[in-house]
């Protein structure tokens, strides 16, 4: 019974934890501009993140080595450092976006300017990292994030023309958009689903929670059930936008637009749900990304790390996270639009993805680390297919960003 509860809890947190500011914004933007014609990308992204998280979780559980230790060990100091620099900066960008997301959600709830919420959000994130136990932190934000299910509920309450919706599913470029911006948003959506921090966090979390080989089955269930359901949640954000905003000629540029379809379908109660969900989801993701920035640095340089230690026993790890939060706050204080930061961060995530993906794919095949738990044949075939997809997305991203003027 207890075991069953554990599995259920794991799945629920995986669903609630899947959506972050990147998914919220990108899905709404895409839904309002492209309808459902890019939903297939979310499906591809979800399969990719399942594969990637499953591999890195397995490496962490079997060898006890988290992702960035493996990256440094396999790529060497030089390429490892280049990789660290890229991953760390993108992660920092995501931290900034998530804190901005918390502040924007709180503004929607209170109409107090988001700039005033930013220090509150950052301090709250730090306090949780400083004091709260890893498992409590993960479960509470994950479960509260589940209230985002209201997006899926709203789809039904809006009573859409199902036939017309299904017709939009075909991957075609809508009339008013160009092929290039379509491709650009495909990559953004892919990056939002497959953000590297999710993997840093997932594998380091496995070490934090002292996973071993016998936890492998549960981790697989969490990933294989939780992530697709989380993906369904993020698709419903796009569907909501496609039902309400697309016909009205609204293209999403702010978080306030993201919640309008829910209010349309489910009224004030729905709005309350969605606000709680957005605060929880962005707060959870802010925790994950902040921790990830500490994890990547500590693992590269071999520092002592982990929330399971007292802060004083992982001093540099905690110091680096404090610095990251301060930097994120400073960036937001300049008044830069957090939604814009988010849109860039998901694309840069897609650009940096091969750097973390390839070393994990290789180590997951190395019996020195994995013993008998090396990748099976099917996983390897899928792994290679995704390596190609990830490479193509990564290489195409910057040219597309320039050609489309970042999707405008």
């Amino acid at each position: 019974m207890k075991r069953l509860l554990g599995v259920a809890l794991g799945i629920l947190t995986a669903i609630g934890g899947f959506v972050d500011i990147g998914d919220l914004v990108t899905n709404a933007v895409v839904g309002s501009r492209f309808g459902l014609s890019l939903v297939w990308v979310v499906a591809v992204g979800v399969v990719g993140i399942c594969l990637f998280a499953n591999m890195s979780g397995r490496v962490a559980a079997v060898s006890g080595r988290a992702t960035f230790e493996v990256i440094r060990e396999r790529l060497g100091a030089r390429a490892g450092l280049a990789n660290l620099a890229a991953s760390f900066l993108i992660n920092l960008m995501t931290v900034t976006a998530e804190i901005g997301g918390i502040a924007l959600s709180l503004q929607l709830a209170s109409s107090v300017d988001y700039l005033l919420w930013i220090p509150v959000a950052a301090v709250a994130v730090w306090l949780v990292i400083w004091r709260v136990r890893f498992s409590i932190m993960e479960n509470v934000t994950g479960l509260l994030g589940l209230t985002l299910v209201i997006f899926a509920v709203a789809v039904f309450l809006l009573k859409p023309d199902w036939g017309a919706l299904a017709g939009q599913l075909a991957p075609t470029v809508p009339q008013q958009e160009t092929f290039w911006s379509y491709s650009y948003y495909a990559i953004a959506l892919f990056g939002a689903a497959m953000t590297p921090y999710e993997v840093f966090f997932f594998s380091s979390g496995a070490v934090e929670e002292k996973w071993s080989v016998k936890d492998l089955a549960q981790s697989r269930i969490n990933v294989l059930v939780g992530f697709p359901l989380g993906g369904l949640l993020s698709v419903s954000i796009a569907v909501c936008a496609a039902i309400v905003l697309l016909p009205a000629g609204v293209s999403v540029t702010s978080l306030s637009q993201v919640v309008l379809p829910v209010a349309e379908g489910a009224g004030k109660l729905g709005l309350a749900f969605v606000l709680v969900g957005m605060v929880a989801a962005t707060f959870g993701a802010a925790l994950e990304t902040t921790l990830s920035s500490g994890y990547t640095l500590a693992q590269f340089f071999g520092w002592s790390w982990g929330k399971f230690r007292r802060p004083a026993q992982a001093a540099r790890f905690h110091l680096s996270m404090i610095v990251c939060l301060l930097v994120g706050m400073a960036v937001l204080a300049t008044g830069v639009d957090p939604v814009l930061v988010t849109e860039y961060s998901v694309v840069f995530s897609a650009i940096a993805l091969p750097l973390t993906y390839l070393p994990i794919l290789i180590v997951a095949n190395d019996p020195q680390y994995m013993g008998e738990h090396v990748n099976g044949r099917v996983v390897n075939v899928l792994g290679m297919v995704f390596l190609v997809i990830i490479l193509v997305a990564s290489i195409a991203a910057i040219p597309l960003m320039i050609v489309t003027g970042a999707g405008s």
Binding site: G76, I362, N375
Partner: protein
Amino acid sequence: MILGDLLGTPVLDADGGRLGRVADVRFVLDGTPHQLMAEPRLLGLVVGPHSASSFMGYERNGLTRPRMIARILRWRHRGSFLVLWEDIAVVGNRSVRLRPGFTRYSTALDDHAQA
């Protein structure tokens, strides 16, 4: 000396002809025994066509998966060989020179030797 300085150094034969670069340095744990572990004694140099980036060691440890990657990396490191300490004449700042008539050995690692 510092090992990092040696990695990537060009390797020349006795006549100054270029053979490749030091891709790795092989040690064997059979030096003076301490209370914990024996001292690693330099056994030889792994010389490869490319610099220090002996990427992932695919050419040595018998890994074959994922097949495409393994193939590409093995191909990139084709022609790498092991040369023993006894065949090294001079270790310099800019290059390593081997003795005349040195022997090329396979770089393969014995699987059982690898814990």
